[in-house]
Symmetry: D3
Subunit: 289 residues, 6 copies
């Protein structure tokens, strides 16, 4: 038994160089998908966040909340129209999006973090004027209150980190072109926040293993690519579909000074911890070069 | 015209002794009722808050949100059952309460404060574990997820005040008797927060003029009473109905060390400013003695 | 009456954007003339200063003290000789200037500010070595102990602002060309201090309405001019006589980085407040361009 | 020569234990008499103050200014009436007292300290509301604007010490029984300030050697007495005349917590330094017991 | 493989509640015996210390150094005389003790900690006057320069912790009864330091499993005892021989306010980590009751 | 006697301008030679250090320890081999060097400083990773563990100065090319530390008067030279032998930004104080130009 305990301790010790590397650094985690729905996975993510915060890493959580929004829209029997894959967001929909994200998903995450001994504060783009947006305009199409970010003011995030809290952030923006609130993409918000905060790492939790040469073959995972390798992978449709915007967020973060970005599988318990505190990355890491 | 300008300046100067009196002190404002519904009144309250914050007073806003909750419940065709005047709160109702309060009403207030140049952060009882509650038990009756406060941890409020923000707080509590979130009374939350924060003043915005000898006679407003005067006024039904719990909140605050409490009329534009920065109190002030 | 109170509150609210604009900024006020002699005007100035300080503006007061100096010289039956409009200042005169400015006028202002609840400290150019001067030399003429400023060391002013005091400053300089103390022009001292302190505003209180097209016509006040407009106004004698050195002080401040300078009428009660906290400037504002 | 230099260095080293003892402590020095008039003695005092400040002792200087006041009163041909040894102080006299003390004597001291490389700020009882007084009432006699101290607010002194300045303080008080300024005894002010500041030492510079058994015999100096020895010395007229109020100030300081008080001879160059930095006290030290 | 990684991560997560419990607390570790001699064990201890320091625990290391001292004494062919089990320490021996402990063992530990990325500073009882001792006197026997501690001044330890260092401390005391340096027992020094520092835990690394009912039976380890259980265990010789002074050190620490003390087996790799970050204590824990 | 005391005080006053000049500056003193051996000289140096520290100068002491090392090597009958004047340092020798320097000489200095009321901490190149070295390589000769400095990390020195300690530093380096510790030249360490700390002065205590035109003629001391004068003095053999590396250290310090360097005579009591606090430099000062 003693040997067994020593082995366990040895595992902890293996995390030492990683903890040292990230100590006092900021890491932005985009939290979404299965890891947000499945209770056991959720519990694992929350504990990962609290542990990482406790070993001296500034953890910033950005979340979406698709399923809860859909549930609520269904409850009020509101049907959504989609344009180019984007939900047309009228005022009634926006109200639902805002209250579900900022009031339910966000505060429930805060509550979960508190319950395992962390210290979290739930924020959204309106708090301290953090995320400023305007209406999205693409080829003169009208998506309603879908917005794009024009400015990030990270002061309120830094203030809460400074006071020892884990900021949990809903991806909703305060409009600067009127009194509106805008629905913004959470991946994009996470990427832009990671730049504004001078983070060293951006982690996108997804429902896939990462970028794969062959999506049907788990062994075909590409562990690491650089910026310059991306165009070819897009050309060959290895980066395709929903992976394209995620990779684009990573590119934006890297160009903004973030050192490393990771697309990892939220369906694996403790995937964040594994990615951060071991050599065995389990997703795809994208670096500058 | 010059005389006119001097007269205006003189009015500003009359506020000087009040600003001096409250400088660096904390004042808790329970915001609700008409002042939260009517756009012009809302605008006046927001500006009052920003101005008071700017002249060096620590303003803490606690809000309820009845009408918005009702609207949302109506939208999902949820009927509420009332027990002793309290809404029986099942899990579905509680979800609506939480998301409307913390996600809609709260963040909209934050946004409004930002838009007139203030610096606000929207919090709820879960953030930083601020408000801890248990299920309300009165004579073994079951009100569902209606809660009562067992502990206030004001750290997160002080941290945000310390960093120069106006904390705006939704009256929802984190359960310590399970994983629940509880619906709590906003007046009570404001009273207990005013004690925990060492506030000098608690202001309850209502839809009446204050405590009145005769509710039909505006001139019968009682401007000031002390703790010891309250029992008689209750006996005589001058304090009655919905006024009773409000007065009880004031009593709790006063017994906890708050210097003065005010029940004022939110239907009058700038009633907060008038009450704070002039001799002409326009509501009822309750003091210890 | 309630409407009346709301109107008053509205007036306060109108000051909000101005308070926001000047919050945490430094404003240097040159205080002199009638506003320093007439008790009611004096009282208004003092209250303006305390109010502005309380709403978060760093107020620095620089004062002269002509009439009190004259009274004291008369008392000791000392006659003054004037050269080019400057009082020839022998050692005995200088002693009187110093003691009246630093000991009487200065400390009485401090006392008045304290009495309305402000927190002032009375300083002069010698304190902390703040204002360093040499003997004025113009075309080899000898003006005795009239000095000109060669260096401003703003440390002691910043230290007192930092500790929350309103510094009140007598325009007397410590000589660096010997053991002398020099009599210096208060307008110039205010202008140079505004530059050294990185002030955003310099306000000169005078006994005229401002720069006027026709001094006999109150309606001919020029509300705003820029640096480039000044030469023409001098040429046309619209800026002439005692107004020339005042305008030159403004020019020096503007060239040193001060954003706006104001020549306002100290004979109007609360002219400082009116100028700062309303759109209706009542004097002449000179800006860079 | 080398031996000579080593001897000199040795002298410096002998000051070491005294510097260690007083490091970071506060010492109040009442400066007056000959040491304030004679240029060489003045120079010695100034240098003592700067040196002591530099070796880490918080030096607070309180000064009177009798001769300069008399000169100025003579200049305006004002005759003084004395009641029980106290100058009856009418408003005109008070103005002279204030301006000479706060404007001339005080600021000249500040200037002298600056010139030898110290960092001084000149204050009086009005600055920051430091010394609050009322009209002196003794057996219903009227002494005009002679005041007595009712309260010391040491905040402004601590603030200036905190920022590294040597505060130089004129003994003039702000009246709390009206708008008056009061002339107060400098010894008393020094004693009360030493208590309010938590000083470990009060030093009164005088024009005598100390308390002497026989005033005509320099060798009869009493080097040290305790509180309980004082009544007998008074009885025997060894403490008599002008020495009585000085000893009473020491008693007040000692009873207020000051550790040691010293009555030393300002006519001896560097008497402060000798008293503080050597075993050979050259005046009379009064201790608690 | 993914499951394997998740299992590893799960192990890290199991440490979470312990890390939370000790966060920002101080733990004193007496380091000695085999764990200081065997390279692999030494490496494990060093990594444990760095990891614990990194997760926010204030680690203070106190060490002895018997074997190295013996080696050096052997080298200079110095024979030691023992009195009651204590080495009689003459001046020559003391010099060796001091230089081996403070110069070799201490600085080598510091170097090892640095090499795995920690930040250590090597101190001894003389640094900052931390440990003050006198000559040990027991029944008038003379043990030479063996000392006992009379006072701990923890300032220098707190200062280094405050600046983020791991203080490594040699158990040598500065004599206050002359110019001597004294050889002091490292267990005692650790116990007294844990009290002076307000530590929550004292850990003694030994070469045995802990307190055992039967020293020949590994399964007879007593995992936990309280203060009141100790006399009986001594009576029964279960606590006997070299274990007695170790248990006495624990008693002293507990009586001084330390919460828990641990006697653990330094021959087990990572025994510190196992004891601190898991439920499975592997030594004997002594608590107050 | 009074005159005598005044004269003494005057001597203290003469130190004033020097104390002012060095206040809050850092001075590195290389301590070695006779001043480290002779008890009276040692006592004088220690008191000089404590006094200078007390008057607000940041004193950093770097020491060697030749005689003690030789004594210890003799005791273990270890003979040293010298190559080009450098002691070939095998592992056994290095162990002795380290333990004598860091454990004996260093901590004894710390103890002496404490005993006269200073506050010292003993450090070496390993503490906080302060001095990083590699094996010395000169023309492929092997000197064993003689090292040269590749990097100074002054953080731990600044941290101890910041907390009010006098850091006393042994010239031993942590190897970055393996696990070794290296023996490094103390003069060089002092010079490189003076640069890394931004010191204004480097003082090398030696056993000669300074640089002398004729070593047999005490009156031929060269009081001051500049960088450009050095080549000629070397050419003329006026700078020769052991003086060459000392002068080279001064050159390195001057080129690194140190203002003045001094080679002074440690055989003269208080030579440090004399050099710093008087005009009469008693050694050779080397300045940039």
């Amino acid at each position: 038994m003693v040997q067994d305990l020593s082995d366990k301790a040895n595992l902890l010790i293996q995390a030492l160089p990683y903890i040292q590397k990230f100590n006092k650094e900021t890491i932005v985690i985009k939290y979404g998908g299965n890891a947000m729905v499945h209770p056991l996975l959720k519990d694992a993510v929350i504990k990962d966040i609290v542990l990482l915060s406790l070993v001296g890493i500034n953890i910033v959580v950005v979340h979406g909340g698709g399923p809860d929004i859909n549930d609520m829209l269904a409850k009020i029997q509101k049907e959504s129209r989609f344009i180019d894959g984007l939900r047309y967001t009228d005022q009634e929909t926006m109200d639902i999006v805002q209250q579900v994200l900022c009031g339910k998903v966000n505060k429930n995450l805060v509550s979960l973090i508190n319950r395992v001994g962390g210290k979290a504060v739930g924020l959204c783009g309106m708090d301290g004027g953090m995320i400023c947006g305007v209406q999205l305009k693409k080829q003169d199409k009208d998506y309603g209150l879908v917005g794009e970010i024009v400015n990030i003011n990270p002061e309120v995030v830094n203030d809460t980190l400074d006071k020892g809290y884990i900021p949990v952030i809903s991806s909703v923006a305060q409009g600067i072109d009127g009194n509106s609130v805008y629905n913004i993409n959470a991946d994009t918000a996470a990427a832009k926040l990671s730049v504004a905060l001078g983070a060293i790492k951006l982690i996108l939790l997804t429902d896939v293993r990462g970028i794969m040469n062959n999506v049907d073959d788990n062994d075909s995972l590409i562990s690491q690519i650089t910026l310059e390798g991306i165009p070819l992978l897009k050309e060959r449709n290895i980066i395709s579909g929903g992976m394209i915007p995620k990779v684009d967020c990573c590119v934006e973060a890297l160009n903004g000074g973030v050192e490393r970005t990771h697309i990892i599988d939220g369906r694996i318990a403790h995937s964040i911890l594994i990615e951060l505190l071991s050599d065995e990355g389990i997703g795809t890491m994208i670096t500058k070069g």
